[in-house]
Amino acid sequence: MSPSGRLTDQSARPRRRLAAVAALAVAALTALALPSGPAAAEDSPSPSVSGSGSGGASAVPEHGRSTFVLGVKQDIDSFNPYMGVVATAYEVYQLVYDYLTGSSASDFSAVPNLAESWETSPDGKVWTYHIRQGVKWSDGQPLTAKDVAYSFQRAKDGEQENAQYAAYVDQISKIEATDANTVVMTTEEPSPSMLRLLVPIVPEHIWRDVPSKKVKEYANDNKPVGSGPFTLTEVKSGQYYRFAANKSYWAGAPKIDELIIRVFTNDEAMANALKKGEIDMLNDVTYGVLESLQNQPGITTSSSKYSGFSEIAYNLGAETIEGKKIGNGNPALTDKQVRLAIDYAIDRKTLLEKVLRGHGSEGSGVIPPIYPNWHWNPGGGARGFDLAKANSTLDAAGYVKGADGIRAKGGTRLELRLFGRDNSEESKKAVEYVRDWLGQIGIKVNVQIMSEDNLTEVIGKGEYDMFQWGWVVEPDPDFQLSVFTCDQRSYTDAGEVAAGWSDSFYCNPAFDALYKKQKTLLDPGQRAEVIKQAQQMLYDDVVYSTIWYYDNPEAYRSDRFTGLQRQPTDGGSFVFQYGTYSYRSVEPVAEKPKDEGTGLGLVLGVAGGVVGAAAVAVLVVALRRRSTADDRE
């Protein structure tokens, strides 16, 4: 296999920015790859999918079939892969559709998927993908290179489609199916991102009847035709979604017969359901709830490594691309010394222990350590928590304490707004800690808690000083770095300010140069070097104070199911991966314990009801007796 995945891509899924709680597992996804990595790809079977029967109509499974139930807290917003926004929806697209390439379970390296193999021209601009033969859609039609080309062309041309997948297709100038099994794509520049094109491959014979103008109205929830390891068979909005295993999946049939994704509104109900065996797995609960599940019989918990980080971000002097000053950020934050002092005053260790309850690690570079090839950290040169140093830094920078204990320099008082997010307990707590620490170095912090939409709005307009939020980083670091480039700042559009992805208004030509350079380096080693330099630059300039890398809390019924697979193998997540490994490998344990949860509950419930009714009846009779007795008096 030629390029076994050190190449990287350009990746920019919209809505990358996700709440630590709401989106522990998220948005970007990659195609599936083979469980055992690239080598296995060659000899994996290419079975035909006899589609007619899959997608069966039976809603209730017969006994003896194995059904795996996953609890989630986020309802699926759309089954149409051009419409969905939430993480759960992306998880479903992975189940139903295939992708050109995948990310390996062991270390996210690019592996074959629908593309069995590929070649690059010497200049790195022409990519030839060889499409797996014999793959069939769930309706029995063969999947060909034409479907692949169609899917990419659609993601490029369709308005809504492009809004969703622009990041993967915008650099492609030409897409062509040269024969039934070959797709050739041409790019403007050499691009390492061509092996991480997270565009779902949809059947042309279905989607050509859904014009782009109408794509928003297409729910795609009636047994959609796909080629993935599962097919959607039943939709109960707000309740659950049922999937049947694709028994003739080209990479091997899933070991379970059925998968159900069940929606809960809250941790209480979901944790309870796991304890009672109503569901087999959950994730996205608070760490406290996860800990409470730790010693429950039959349940295995996992604080899995995850690809997200959180930061305290600063307004570095909001300015549009056109050079117009916007917003009302405190000018003191444009002074690197002030940011440096603040960074010294943030005790990452305490935040990790008290707020995350230890479920994560201290933050530094903006690419999380789950990607060891790209991750950079300052090692011994890290800025530690040091209030004295913070104070002396501010003293040296000329900020002196006034009568009220708040520092000022000239007319600039160090009174800063700090925004937290209302849907994250961690965010609310973290900002309180930061406020406390900054108070000790003579900086007054006014905390405000707001919704994420609101926060997005004020950030775009530059109307903030500091805020707490986080990002989920894809296997390719390109997008994450692009967030800090000059071009991602807000811009003026028809007299109004429109937001880009930048939330710091950082603009440094030296950084931009590094960003551009890594984008064209096909050699992974060279590229990693540049990416690490870029991260160090962000750290030295204190663009963010990265506070932590958080874990993904997961728990499952190990008394019933086994065989879940982590990604990366070393401590990674079981579900919400870049791929569908666990869904295909999970299997019932040999001796399935009698499922007595509901049965017994029902019996007891009915018995309880009867007893209750009897008690009421007795009470009524007694009272009646007494009251008639009263009346007789």
Binding site: V289, E291, E432
Partner: protein, 307 residues
């Protein structure tokens, strides 16, 4: 003001003092009402004196010193939350915000309700009709959806507005129509009375008529309604907090309960965290309800003797 005992004003005052004394005598004999009053006094006392025996610093997650999630014990009579804060401290301190929201929201609703009600009763014809229509609208629109929509708009339109203020405003402007209705009915009754006819004949202006004759007669109804309104406002605050529309920076019983709920207190077995703040709400609301019903009974002779 210090006129002789013969001025009409002094007479009126004397009359009112007597009415008040009679009211108190009747109320005192209402056992339910007295229980309610005692509950209320205890709650108010706790809220007012909270700073004396509770250190507000202990509310900050950063200063919390206790072990996380321990059940009720000597050191922490009501247990601790998962940041190691004493639930007792938070319940005591939360009473301040909850009562503040309850009382001020009720005050807003009383003022709007009384003004609209009196105006609708006094100015008949088109203006009164319009006011009736508006009252109808607010009366018929279900409370919680309206509150949700208003709170969302306030939150996103004016993010700088302190959230606790937003909650007060939302509850205030969603709950006035009941008062307006009652006041209007009362005002209509008063309008027909001879002394008002007399006052009109003597050339009294609208202002005089309303402040001297209509309002004093309407006030008892408003007062009885107030007590019940406070309980509704306190419940509404917990509900809005539960829906994430509360003020996370001003701990109240509502936000405390919401915190316990979203942290999964129950499934973690930390029942004390979810139960005690709820009990505090229940007891206070019960106090207001008992009082309110007693006041109603005392003011409405028809209801006398129906404990």
């Amino acid at each position: 003001m210090t006129a002789t005992a013969l001025t009409p004003r002094a007479l009126a005052r004397q009359r009112r003092r007597r009415a008040l004394a009679a009211f108190w005598n009747a109320f005192r004999r209402d056992r339910e009402g007295v229980i309610g009053l005692v509950l209320l006094l205890v709650c108010v006392a706790v809220a007012v004196m909270a700073p004396l025996f509770v250190d507000a610093d202990e509310l900050s997650v950063t200063r919390a010193s206790g072990p996380p999630l321990v059940g009720p014990s000597g050191a922490y009579p009501l247990g601790t939350d998962d940041d190691g804060r004493s639930v007792l401290t938070m319940v005591v301190w939360g009473s301040r915000t909850s009562l503040l929201v309850g009382l001020t929201a009720t005050a807003i609703s009383m003022v709007i309700g009384t003004v609209v009600g009196v105006a609708a009763g006094h100015f008949r014809g088109r203006p009164g009709g319009l006011l009736d229509r508006v009252t109808d609208f607010f009366l018929v629109v279900p409370f919680l959806p309206l509150a949700i929509v208003l709170a969302t708009v306030l939150r996103d339109r004016w993010p700088d507005l302190p959230k606790v203020l937003a909650v007060i405003v939302v509850i205030g402007i969603t709950s006035w129509p009941v008062t307006a209705r009652l006041v209007r009915a009362q005002a209509l009754a008063v309008e027909g009375r001879p002394y008002l006819e007399r006052a009109k004949a003597l050339g009294a202006g609208n202002w005089h008529q309303i402040t001297r004759h209509v309002l004093p007669n309407v006030m008892p109804v408003v007062f009885a309604n107030t007590t019940l309104s406070v309980s509704i406002a306190i419940l509404a605050e917990t509900t809005l907090s539960f829906l994430g529309l509360g003020d996370p920076l001003n701990p109240s019983w509502g936000t405390l309960l919401d915190g316990a709920y979203s942290a999964g207190a129950v499934s973690r077995g930390a029942w004390w965290w979810a139960v005690f703040p709820g009990l505090a709400v229940a007891v206070t609301v019960l106090g207001f309800n008992l009082c309110g019903r007693a006041v109603e009974r005392v003011l409405d002779p028809r209801l006398r003797g129906r404990v």
